[in-house]
């Protein structure tokens, strides 16, 4: 099996639509900053965004900016800037590249969107440590730098069964944010508005789930690499009509592909699960490489992380506490293994690829023996490749590709 001429990635027609709504989103933030209204909140990707939206904030997600720095391959010039002020090259490279870019007063936003000169300056920073501690450190830096308050929710980690105690503590913390947010944003909390936004967020994530699940079909209509791009609206626009509309369009396109048996990978032979962070600077390159190997990377923990089944407008606080606590990254090893097992079964997976991201231990689940345990239990091979979300100095192209190719040769030999 060898890599052939660069194969074409099949274009997703909805991409134009997505670009437009993402552009509108960034211009809206930019205008708000320039006019001083509405107020802007920065939020972690799985933070209490719906609450912020209901209080009238526009919400900006630094992790999304981190991913842009990674995919535009600009991270390398910013990470060292953050290193120089004491943030180690071993910690989250979203943090280091984002902080470095801020210090250098540069952003990929200004390259992508004419007239935008910088990231939207926040009035408040709101984090949830459900994913990691780095987000708190990240927001604390901005809090000092910009002299704006950083508020947050501190979550339990490594949770097995979720108990009422876990949830009531998180619920209390979410409610506890309200008085300060009312003061900063200048709007009174309105439970009906909150319910409405939570409902929209639910609809968005359910459509996103359906989008992902189109890949249960053989051949799979969309690759993991495209999913990471089309996930954008689920991350930054959930809680809006715009996102719901977008996923209706995307879903329809993918369902048509399914009906026509049009796969993302021509002549799909193998189906692989991606466990871990994307390697943002190598999305296209890896997508093409897998196509050349007739291998479809079709499901991932990463893209699944924006499915929130529990959101319930009738019980908004508690259901939000549950939704942001039951996600994969917060759970214990046992839960994670069962989860992947379910995915392997659901998507007809032939092999699991673990990405050991140097600077994100939270999303590198290969480090405590999981690949070996899953191989034994599921009888399918697992591969670990070394790399990083943003810091391409931690990624060896040749080693990664040889490993992947040898892995596919092994799948072919089964």
């Amino acid at each position: 099996m060898s890599e052939e001429k660069k194969p074409a990635i099949k274009k997703i027609q909805a991409t134009g639509h997505m670009r437009k709504i993402m552009a509108d989103y960034f211009y809206e933030l930019d205008n708000a900053m320039k006019q001083g209204s509405p107020k802007i909140a920065w939020c972690t990707s799985v933070g209490p965004a719906e609450l912020l939206l209901s209080l009238g904030f526009l919400v900006y997600y630094p992790e999304n900016h981190g991913a842009m720095l990674g995919s535009s391959r600009q991270a390398a010039s910013y990470i060292p800037v953050a290193n120089a002020i004491g943030y180690s090259p071993d910690i989250c490279s979203y943090l280091t590249s984002d902080v470095g870019a801020f210090i250098k007063k540069e952003t990929p936003l200004s390259r992508a969107y004419e007239g935008i000169e910088g990231v939207p300056i926040p009035d408040v920073l709101v984090y949830n440590t459900n994913q990691c501690r780095d987000v708190q450190d990240w927001f604390s830096w901005y809090s000092k730098e910009l002299n704006v308050p950083a508020l947050g929710i501190s979550t339990y980690r490594n949770i097995g069964n979720i108990t009422e105690d876990h949830l009531s503590s998180i619920e209390k913390q979410i409610k506890g944010l309200i008085p300060q947010l009312e003061e900063i944003g200048g709007n009174k909390f309105d439970i009906d508005k909150f319910r409405h936004i939570l409902g929209l967020s639910y609809d968005c994530t359910q459509l996103w789930k359906k989008v992902l699940e189109t890949n249960k079909s053989i051949p799979a209509p969309i690759s993991f690499f495209d999913e990471t791009i089309h996930m954008g609206p689920a991350v930054v626009l959930r809680g809006t009509e715009t996102a719901v509309e977008y996923y209706e369009v995307l879903l329809q396109e993918l369902e048509e592909r399914v009906a026509q048996k049009e796969g993302a990978v021509q002549d799909e032979k193998f189906r692989v699960y991606w466990e871990g962070m994307p390697i943002w600077g190598k999305l296209r390159d890896l997508a093409e490489f897998f196509i050349s190997l007739r291998t479809a990377v079709i499901a991932s923990t990463y893209c699944n992380s924006w499915i929130f089944d529990s959101f319930d407008p009738d019980d908004p606080f508690m259901s939000m506490a549950r939704a942001y606590t039951e996600i994969f990254i917060v759970r214990d090893e046992n839960f994670k293994e069962l989860y992947i097992e379910k995915m392997v079964d659901m998507y007809g997976i032939n092999g699991i690829l673990f990405h050991d991201a140097k600077t994100c231990p939270n999303n590198s689940n290969n480090r405590y023996g999981m690949p070996e345990r899953l191989e034994k239990k599921l009888g399918i091979p697992a591969l670990t490749i070394n790399g990083d979300l943003n810091d391409l100095r931690c990624y060896s192209e040749e080693q990664a590709k040889t490993n992947i190719e040898a892995f596919v040769e092994q799948l072919a030999n089964k």
């Binding site: 890599e3 091979p381 070394n386 040898a406 040769e409 092994q410």
Partner: protein, 261 residues
Amino acid sequence: MEYFVGIDVGASTTKAVILDKSAQILGHSVIHSGADFGAAAEDVLHKASVGLKKENLGRKIVISTGYGRRNVLFADLTKTEISCHAKGSYHYFQRAHTLIDIGGQDSKIIKIDDGGKRIGFKMNRKCAAGTGAFLEEIANRLKIKIEKLNGLAEKATKNVTIGSYCTVFTATEILTKIRQNIRVEDIVKGIFESVIKRALEMDLLEGNIVMSGGVVAHNPYFVKMCEQKLGKEIFVPPLPQLIGALGGALFALETKGGKHA
């Protein structure tokens, strides 16, 4: 007669094996890869085919493997070095086994089942520790010719532990040992020990063990140390440095439905 050729373009050396249709080795060669992998591949084939009929070389199937496999423009197919090493190793050792290959720039552990099927593999991570490059670097620092390492290690009388993962840290550690007047023989054995540890800790090593690669080819004492460490005999195939190229040639033979297909 038709020839079946495997060319293994490694980061430090390029190897070629030429087989006839009954899988007999007709020629082989090892040269430095240098900076032009394509030229190295041509060169190594030329050297391996000395004495063979020129007209037959026109009728050959070539499979390239290794780091520079895609630079071999005259190859009919490419395969990864993982598959080729497994193939070559099973050719000599037709039982379930684990192959440990210590190459110039990487080391690999490949598990092969009773029928010759590859059931798992691991390649080392990004640093030189546990590879031939590490030995070269250290020999360089100690101003010793690389081919002298084996003889020196054999004469060691003490066990010296080199603890670092990293080549740069190791160099510093060695400086400390030199300052402490530790004999160079003991240091070299310590270096061997360190490469062995890095390579062996990559995976569980149960059952039969086969070793290949340049380090193994040139340092029999290294293999002896591995045997002591694992408490069992290790099988080293003939031409251990050429196992990947041999595997490539065997795959070439398979494409013709020849022996070992």
